[in-house]
């Protein structure tokens, strides 16, 4: 059997049902073997989008997404997608073609040292030197990508290794010495966490991306409900906890919900569940959590004490740590009053900001359109976003009801991620509506994936909040650079309805709330992708805002 065939079979054995990619000289043997594969191949129009699709697929399936590219430019085009997955701990396996072994290091045509290029943004990488190594490497690649703290893995296969034949052995069991992702939190540390929480008067849960990666939704809810703790999330953790739950407070951070930013600085004990204390979520490191006790649940020992020193560290999968905590609490449980002052404070803050935050004065605004979207979408619809104001508006005004149905490029903030990622998510779950809450600048970067959406019958909805502006940058220029706009205007170009049309998708312009209502309903019924072009005032800002380098308490709630 050839190396290329072994690759395809190894992927089949891993249960891969779809691969996103684009061929070239150095992966021709792989594409030839692909003809007989029992999984689907989705041809992309740009390799960056292949990586984003694999990423979107992975975030919904919670299994590795796979993408293919040729050597050189094909492989480097993947890099933005790989870096995006790395920043958000998303499991993808990228398989690149490489020049033949004997040509490596000779500056051969389309030779790039992609392992070197990708090293800082991959969890691991492989380069088989003989065809017989491929089956085991693929199994290891998938295992490493999915286990522990997930992340992207690169497999770079020289062309002659794809062509060579060997007796293939497909191992059932593999061992990676030096990699032990299955850690269980220390029980005595658990007991300390329970004590701290029982003694806390104003405890708060800060749920992060780790909860979603682990799928620990019911465990998180069980702990919150048992101990009656209000739950804020990071932006990456948005939707780790139902946002319509009586204990929910929404995301904290630079553009967090006002009540969430307010309550977390008033807390006396923070339980950070699968969150890495990013500067965007906690503001100034020194100030955050000052005078409070912090309990940190994380699977990655290197996250403990990286940005924040903590009082108790529970290193392990949050699903299992939360389960143990709930068990320990059930035994100890002193009934907490559901009307205690702290929970009253939660209600008070929510009410206060609901009454004080002013809406932007216009017939159609970001906030109103997102509320409308929520109203018309089923609870289990999958929502992703592009990057910028559109993304932060989604965080502020679109409530996630079913846990795990929302994701975004958060760590890297990659414009152009949302649309291809939504197609990947649709491939993972074809029977639910998938929406990309988009900005014009971002959508413009990867809109050619409309071809993929149409041809591969993966109809998604692009909810385009179109200010014809690199709006988030413009907002910073308004705020910090005295309105000296520089490089942000899109000058009404292109016409997104026509763009949709050109690809055989559906384009609808919605200039009033009534038209928007109709457009969303039409999109939900459509069997091709729909781009809903919603004109947004380029002066509409995102608030609240915590300026970089300041603390959450310095939050500015409005202009």
């Amino acid at each position: 059997m050839t190396g290329a065939k072994a690759l395809i079979q190894a992927l089949e054995k891993e249960g891969v049902d779809v691969v996103f990619g684009l061929p070239g000289g150095a992966n021709l043997p792989i594409y030839d073997a692909l003809v007989d594969a029992n999984f689907r191949h989705i041809l992309v129009r740009h390799e960056q989008s292949a990586a984003h699709m694999a990423d979107g697929y992975a975030r919904i399936k919670r299994k590795a997404g796979v993408c293919f590219a040729t050597s050189g430019p094909g492989a480097t085009n993947l890099i933005t997608g790989i870096a995006t997955a790395y920043a958000d701990s998303s499991p993808i396996v990228a398989v690149t073609g490489q020049v033949p072994l004997a040509m490596i290091g000779k500056d051969a045509f389309q030779e790039t040292d992609i392992i070197g290029v990708a090293n800082p943004c991959t969890k691991y990488s492989f380069q088989p030197r003989a065809a017989a190594e491929i089956p085991e490497m693929i199994k290891k690649a998938v295992y490493i990508a999915e286990s522990g703290r997930p992340g992207p893995v690169l497999v770079d296969i020289p062309k002659d290794v794809q062509q060579a034949t060997a007796d293939m052995k497909f191992p059932e069991l593999i061992k990676v010495r030096g990699y032990n992702p299955n850690v269980e939190a220390d029980l005595s540390e658990m007991a300390r966490a329970v004590e701290l929480l029982l003694n806390a008067e104003r405890p708060i849960i800060m749920a992060g991306g780790g909860v979603i990666l682990s799928g620990a939704f019911s465990e998180l809810q069980a702990l919150a409900e048992l101990v009656k703790i209000p739950v804020v999330t990071t932006f990456k953790g948005k939707g780790a906890f139902p946002e319509n739950h009586p204990l929910a407070m929404g995301p904290i951070g630079m553009h967090g919900h006002a009540e969430a930013n307010k309550i977390i600085v008033e807390a006396d004990c923070i339980v950070a569940v699968g969150a890495r204390f990013s500067d965007r979520s906690v503001g100034k490191f020194d100030e955050f959590g000052k005078g409070m006790s912090i309990i940190h649940l994380d699977i990655d020992p290197a996250e403990i004490g990286k940005n924040k020193s903590v009082d108790v560290a529970l290193v392990g999968d949050v699903k299992s740590s939360l389960r143990t905590l709930v068990k320990m609490f059930s035994k100890k449980m002193i009934k907490k009053d559901s009307d205690n002052p702290w929970l009253k404070r939660r209600k008070e803050l929510i009410q206060y900001y609901a009454e004080t935050l002013k809406d932007y004065p216009r017939e159609i605004t970001a906030k109103k359109s997102l509320k409308k979207l929520r109203e018309l979408l089923p609870a289990n619809a999958i929502v992703t976003t592009e990057v910028g104001q559109c993304q932060m508006w989604a965080s502020l005004h679109f409530d996630v009801i079913t846990p795990g149905t929302f994701f975004s490029s958060t760590g890297l903030g990659t414009m152009g991620f949302g649309f291809p990622a939504s197609i990947g998510a649709k491939a993972a779950k074809p029977n639910v509506p998938v929406v990309d809450i988009a900005g014009d600048g971002s959508f413009n970067m990867t809109e050619n994936s409309l071809a993929v959406s149409v041809l591969d019958k993966l109809p998604v909805i692009v909810f385009l909040m179109n200010n014809y502006m690199l709006g988030m940058v413009a907002q910073w220029q308004r705020t910090f650079y005295n309105r000296r706009y520089s490089g942000v205007h899109q000058h009404n170009c292109p016409d997104y309805v026509k763009i949709a049309d050109a690809y055989g998708a559906q384009g609808i312009r919605a200039e009033s709330m009534h038209e928007l209502d109709k457009a969303i309903k039409a999109a939900l019924k459509s069997d091709v992708a729909t781009v809903i072009d919603i004109p947004i005032d380029p002066e509409e800002d995102v608030y609240p805002f915590v300026a970089p380098g300041t603390g959450l308490k310095d939050m500015i709630v409005g202009a």
Binding site: N119, P120, V176, G178, D279, F285, D286, D300, P301, A302
Partner: protein, 171 residues
């Protein structure tokens, strides 16, 4: 802007067992660069086990940075084990080759004398230079270097530290 309280830096020896295969040194040094860890020296060599190499890293770091350095190293898949060695319970040595300018006979005999006191070896004597091999702790090598510096050091090559814990049998 995000600086935390400055902590005291001190000298540490970190010993790591790693897979003996291509690319591992690259992954380690790339990690140090990407996370701005300051490395004083790094040595890599074979061990009692054929498929393992030992890396010995010395660094001047505060406790917090050292903790991150160790944890980030452990996170690398090709790194099997990482230990911070307690310098009191560790044998550690460095080797230095020092080529010193020495033309006149007095200088030459002084250098030979010093080398003897430092238990060094004279490896080569040329018309204008003497090359001395000194083995010892980095401090000892510094001391020798300081002693002969005024003669003029033509060339110097230090290996970096190699270390093992005292006693015990475990790797």
């Amino acid at each position: 802007m995000f600086a935390t309280t400055v902590q005291k830096e001190s000298w540490h020896i970190v010993s790591a067992l790693v897979e003996n295969k291509p690319g591992v040194l690259f992954r380690v040094t790339n990690l140090f660069r990407a996370r701005s860890f300051n490395i004083e020296s790094i040595t890599v060599g074979s061990t009692e086990q054929q498929d393992l190499s030992r890396m010995t890293i010395t660094t001047n770091s505060d406790e917090k940075t050292l903790d991150q350095l160790v944890k980030q190293l452990r996170k690398l898949i090709d790194v099997i084990e990482v230990k911070v060695l307690d310098t009191d319970k560790t044998v550690y040595r460095e080797l230095a080759l020092i080529k010193i300018r020495a033309v006149d006979p007095t200088t030459r005999s002084e250098i030979v004398n010093y080398a003897t006191i430092f238990r060094g070896n004279i490896l080569d004597i040329g018309k204008e230079t003497i090359t001395v091999e000194i083995t010892g702790t980095p401090d000892k090598i510094d001391a020798f270097k300081n002693l002969v510096e005024h003669y003029g050091i033509a060339q110097l090559s230090r290996t970096g530290v190699s270390a093992l814990p005292r006693g015990g049998v475990e790797s």
